[in-house]
Chain length 388, copies 2
Amino acid sequence: MNIYMAEERVSIYRGLKNVYVAESKICLIDHERGKIYYYGYDLDELAQKSSYEEVLYLLLHGRLPTRREFQEFLDRIRGSMRLDPEVLEVMKRVPKDIDMMEALRTVVSYMGNLRSRGPEYTREDVVDYTIDLVAKMPSIIGGLYRMWRGEEPLEPREDLSLAANLLYLITGREYDERDVRGLDMSLILYAEHGMNASTFAAVVVASTGSDYYSSIVAGIGALRGPLHGYANTGALEQFLEIGDPSNVERWFKENIESRKRRLIGFGHRLYRIHDPRAKHYRRWLEENRERFDEETRRVYETAMKLYEVAMNSFLTEKGIYPNCDYWSALLYYVLKLPKEVYTPIFAMSRIAGWSSHIAEYREDNILIRPKAYYIGERDKKYVPLDER
Amino acid sequence: MNIYMAEERVSIYRGLKNVYVAESKICLIDHERGKIYYYGYDLDELAQKSSYEEVLYLLLHGRLPTRREFQEFLDRIRGSMRLDPEVLEVMKRVPKDIDMMEALRTVVSYMGNLRSRGPEYTREDVVDYTIDLVAKMPSIIGGLYRMWRGEEPLEPREDLSLAANLLYLITGREYDERDVRGLDMSLILYAEHGMNASTFAAVVVASTGSDYYSSIVAGIGALRGPLHGYANTGALEQFLEIGDPSNVERWFKENIESRKRRLIGFGHRLYRIHDPRAKHYRRWLEENRERFDEETRRVYETAMKLYEVAMNSFLTEKGIYPNCDYWSALLYYVLKLPKEVYTPIFAMSRIAGWSSHIAEYREDNILIRPKAYYIGERDKKYVPLDER
């Protein structure tokens, strides 16, 4: 167990491991069978058959849309894609050389300043806010990336899905349908995952009765951490550092077997077996590998070799398996996306889950206010400064 | 107890009431004796004898400074008071008619964009960041307030304390020493209070390994909630709504005894007796009441009458007593501060506590990742959109 006793009768729930903080109808994570469900729907099926837009609807409304409802929902997304000029101005003022997640935190906070109706908001308002925010995310991510390279941001295209807009607005290119499908699947797989750290940060903020954007900004801040969303960026950096499949064994021995470093993209608080999301990435990579150019193939094969070596190492005995960040990093690299946008794409997708949990939690709100167990000194005498 | 069983063998810790999430040496809250200690020092003594600057040092370093250390610390604060022109530009772009806490969230996030060195940071970095941020808060709060009224922001004054700068930069006036002392005391009393909701939000974000400013921005977002920091703004609005001591009894009967509304500024998760911070405010108000002008006296007497009526009502039987937000609201009103700045002043003060907990938590970090207990539907069949 993850609980230890500081003194008799007191338990410290470090990391809140295995502590249930709320009931929820949103996500079932069945560790033992390696299955995830969003509102009762098998994520394996959603990843294959649905779209990110439809999953967003599901997470906001708790049910799948009819054809007509979905058409209206898509119309609302299309109508919200364009950035306000004020937002573009603030994007320009963010320094070029910073981490994009930290930039996103400021930009989304500022969008809240233009949109927020304060602490009183309904589930319908959450739907409004979320559509507005998610629809604009491809323009924000693509816009920041392009502006930082001295290029003009592109206009979002209403004829493209959110996934296709992401690819287009970042790279300026139109992608093969199979590539769009790969990114769309990734957005579905990242959209929701129970009471993870960023969702919990968003819910803690919501529990004070604060406004919607304060919660989302907290979620972005939490996702920026290397122990959470940043793992996908870190995983890619690792692949590039190794550089070639022929270097994997030596690198693994020197860095991981020696316990000098942790293997990024491996291990998850909840899974002691394969992350159920991993197989979808692996299938896509397998099915599309013939289209990879030489450089892409080398990184792909490095990652596959590292996977193989790690799976035959001490890690699996300790229940440490690759998580979905390992594979999303590889997919994004294959799609020739710059690594700056990996965690921001995760954030865009997860806004669905954050919003879903915020709306649900507010329906039966209670302030989240734990305690810290005091182990410090007692009764120290204050000596005035003059006498020190 | 605050735990209930959703089904056998599962406990849901709603609101994390009485759940210890970490050990800490920072703050001892002794409910039974009604005492608070910062790093072992009695808050009653600090409130009377210390200054906010010294308490900030204490919370950042875990001990009181020597005279020389304190002098250096004050020099660093003085050298950091002035805003970067880039920050003033972003302040100008925030819409005038929004809540100042939401504006603060954007401005502090942007300051992070100019300052952050990312997820790798030490306790020394926390000291640097905190000094920089706290020293600038009077200029940010005062600057936003003045800019929103069409006035030019004032330059901070190195000859004044942080409390005196706050008063000066908001109102443009120099205050009587007794008034400065009142606000300074309030900053001391608000500086830290264990694992409260905003501190916890900051710590959840820090636990992912994210950067300092992401944590602080989460803290600001949580403090913006009416169930947390916003209570002081709400308390003042209540006094003004009642308007006159002669209205108190009718208002209380109609709104509170009827259970139509909650009495803002009363009740606290931790205290079933008087909030130990309240007496310091009441003493200051008592000692300074002769200086109040007529309008101030009316609001003061309204608040005192409301206090008296509430203390003789059903509320005390339920353990609902005034908390420190009730009294800080009254103090700030007496100091003729506009209500927009009440919660931002709380935020400025509490940055001390947030920073202290962030630094401590990172010394033995573990990702905070609880669970939600699934109560939703299972095994729903995905029907393709075309067949719906």
